[in-house]
């Protein structure tokens, strides 16, 4: 079977972005918003993944954008601009969280061994869920709730890798953890979400979707 090949809608693949970057680097800062606009949602989501507070996430997202503007000359063309932005955002968010939690005791789950195995619980016959399902707000809400229920260390890795499209190495660098830890956490996050959403089928989240009677969406 072929591996999953997630097609990423990366607005930075064209020469328009490269041209914008070059112009902003030459001092045309008025073009900066045009440059970052395609990524503003992902930047916010990265901040939200770390901080889990809308106000803080928006503030950090703005700060990260301004930091990117201030350091735009340091951006090198060999990197993806979106990745560079996300890494700045994650760094800003982690610093904000450290400041706000200074002196507080970290949650015990943050130090738990990553190596413990996770065993899937639901083995019913699954089929692909149509992307139209995401048009429904309650489906998005249930997916968001499932993600929010994960321990922080799993949630952060999953968001940076599977939602923000950083690669394994970039995710490890952004969070300051090893590549092996990223892989272990990612596996657990994916399997846990799969089980969580499997339970959602039984609770009728996808009941109005055009699935075959008696089958689950995956």
């Amino acid at each position: 079977m072929a591996e999953l090949n997630v097609v990423i809608n990366d607005p930075g693949s064209g020469t328009r972005e490269q041209d914008l970057i070059a112009q902003v680097q030459r001092g045309h800062h008025e073009l900066f918003y045009e440059l970052v606009r395609p990524y503003e949602r992902r930047v916010y989501a990265a901040a939200m993944a770390i901080l889990r507070n809308q106000t803080d996430a928006e503030d950090v997202a703005q700060e990260a954008m301004l930091k990117a503007l201030a350091n735009i000359r340091q951006f090198r063309a060999e990197a993806r601009f979106s990745t560079w932005l996300i890494q700045i955002t994650v760094n800003e968010a982690l610093m904000r969280r450290r400041r706000e939690r200074a002196g507080m005791i970290e949650g015990i789950d943050d130090h738990r061994d990553d190596e413990g195995e996770y065993t899937p619980r639901d083995f019913a016959d699954w089929r692909e869920i149509p992307s139209e399902a995401l048009e429904r707000k309650e489906v998005r809400q249930k997916l968001a709730e499932a993600l929010a229920s994960l321990d922080r260390k799993y949630r952060e890795v999953f968001i940076l890798r599977d939602m923000e499209q950083l690669n394994i190495q970039e995710t490890a660098e952004a969070l300051g953890i090893s590549v092996a830890s990223v892989k272990t956490r990612l596996l657990r996050a994916r399997l846990m979400l799969r089980d969580l959403l499997a339970g959602g089928w039984d609770q009728g989240w996808f009941s109005r979707l055009p699935f075959e009677k008696g089958t689950k969406p995956w």
Partner: protein
Amino acid sequence: MVNHETMNCDQVWKEISNYVEGDIAPAVRVAMDDHFHSCQRCRSVLDGTRNVIRLYSDERMIDVPSGFGQRLEKRISQTVRAQGRGWAWSRWLIPIAALALFAGGLRWGNSLIKAVQLHSDRAQWVAKIPPDMKVVVSEGEKEFHVPGCEFIRNKDKERTLTAREAIREGYVPCPKCMRKYLEPESNANVVQEPEMRAENDFADDRESRFR
């Protein structure tokens, strides 16, 4: 050690995320493919994992607060405008600094010029003596005189030079023969410095003694 030819379910689950990533050795991939063909449970886990990734990677899963984009654009615009004002101001910084330096230099230069200007009315009187005027000095004396001045001592050792040269050598004008140069145009308007007064008193005293 995993036997890649026959992987059990536990082994497949441990590698399923790497399998989806495509980050797996070819031999392991072949073994997992074989397992998926024969194991409905693991195929379910694989399909579910792929669905999770596909769903969450969708942009629609990112929910931003209403007005987020506008607020971000406004913040960036404000910052860029502020930078622009700063830049416009800084563009004038070098010319302004150069002008200030030039003005300061002029002021400093003027202060130097004033420093060599005459500081007292007495000095101004000296300045009234024609610099090329022939005067005489004599050895052991401190004053220079109009040739033939009766107050020249050691006349056998006198020498002639210009007033400029005499002043440069440290001689002071004779208060008698040079009186017309030394007196202010209007004595009533000149307040003599104590030193000047003392010197004049001394000259008067010396004049009386020579008489």
